[in-house]
Amino acid sequence: MSDWKFMARQLVKNPLSLAGLIIIAIFVIVAIFAPLIAPTPEGHRDAYLIPRDGYSATPQPPSEEHIFGTTEGQYDIFYGVIWGTRSAFRVALVVMAITIVIGIALGSLAGYFGGLLDEVIMRITDIFLAFPALILAMAIVSAIGPSLKSVMIALCVVWWPSYARLIRGDILQLREEDYVEASRGLGASSGRVIVRHVLPNAIYPSLIMASLDIGAVVLSAAALSFLGLGSPEGYADWGQMTQFARNWIVGPHNEPLKYWYAVITPGLFILFFVLGWNLLGDAFRDILDPRLARR
């Protein structure tokens, strides 16, 4: 279809979006080939547990054996950030998927049917939005018990209201479109109209927001892990690794940046991941909107 070709052309033409595309592509490759890039040592139970080379608390600088060095507790940084890519994608995609599904379901009910249902759903949404997001997430994780799963649950709970609102707004507008009315005129049930006509047209702004949000989700998960509320110790997760590096951000007096590798490496991975998704999200927004206007 020439539309996809046009979109692909636009993606590639713009240097920023191309950069975003390349960055994310690299991360995808790293995530897929993690076992090959950073093989799990023999006999290791859980691939996501970073192998330790000793128990010393002091991070060791990069060496031949540990390409990126080791962090507190002698966890291999290289292994950590490579497999961390996998957990980053996992967290991001799972949270986004659940959030969008809940947001869409509630948003479309509220938007399409209006009236009392709309009011009730919107007030519930308002309640959730009233809490400061990170604090609420922290509270939920603390209540359930820290683990990556609870981080994901907490982020879902905190994130869905924005999508519900966004979808509801789009649906309010789409509801009045002629082709929706025409479909009703043909005798279509409300369900059919929503699923076949309204949602496919309403979903685009949400997808754009989602691609911009993926970075934010990973950042929030990392923040929670940094505070100790995330995955268990030694888990291959970027946030976890920054938590390890907490005590080593500033080194001894004469060498303040002595343990830079412990801090900077996971930080850079987070940075580029978020940057890549942000650029991609911006590109999608620019492509999808003027393309629609171009018609």
Binding site: D178, Y179, E181, A182, S183, G185, L186, R196, N201
Partner: protein
Amino acid sequence: MNTLVDIRGLKKYFPIIGGVLRRPVGAVKAVDGVSLSVRRGQWLGLVGESGCGKTTLAKTVVRLIKPTSGHIYFDVPDETKALIEDLESQGKNNSKLALLLKDNDLATFSGKRLSSLRRHAQLVHQDPFTSLDPRMKIKDTVAEPLRIHRVLSGEASKTAVKELLGTVGLSAGQMERYPHQFSGGQRQRIAIARALATKPEFIVFDEPTSALDVSVQAQILNLLKDLKKEFGLTYLYITHELLIAESVCDYIAVMYLGKVVEMGRPEEIFHAPRHPYAQSLVAATPVPDPKRRIGRIVLSGEVPSPSNPPPGCTFHPRCSRASKECHELEPPLEPVGGDHYVACFHPL
């Protein structure tokens, strides 16, 4: 049983919500008591300017909008209608009346009855650029009514779609395309094909050519003529262009501010309009004929708002023949010879 669609006393008021407490503070009287009947096989034209309620009427007749009051009878025998009128005039609000209405009056339909009505009465929208789902291939768009009503599916449905597209002058090879790849005229044809899918008897057209070029308009009008002949259809055609109505319709009703002010055959309306508004409408219509300049009857003032229509005859503030009677009483629609009706105390 010559009458296919019988509209009696139809009213549609849209409430205006205002004030802090969000209560209805008024109403936009879009359709204010319209009675029309469309004979089987007739091409009825409904003419009026913006704000006269013609689009609201069109959408109410096919129940895209629920009427505030009034009756719409679709293919109902005369005896039943007479019986209903009888019961109503007796004032008894009994269950027999309610049952009759539920069965026959389109205005009260819901659920399955409404859905089955949709197979017989369809609406074609004004703007072909927005009446087709931009993300659906046209083959799916045209097949949708077949799917909804479970008439056909699979291969049979595909064949039907090809046939429909052929009927409206499009080739089957374009089935896989999206609406934006077609021109305005072609999109309108697709919308017409969609309306024809369930083999309806009655089609309402809401200004189907106003967004199209003159040459394309001519093609669509000729297509409508052919389709009507081929399938024995009945049309209710809404337009603001008198010339089109005069050219293709069998019968014309002129609307002003929610009411029908004159009804008659095209020649009568065009050459001898009796209602002052109809007359000014005819006089104001530009005709491509330099010898015939617009008549000096240029109406003054603007159309009043339908939320606050003038009392009595709604046209009296702009009428040169208005008298005291016109300020107070509403003129009823009366016959003035043959099937020509006028709602005026001082017809021309």
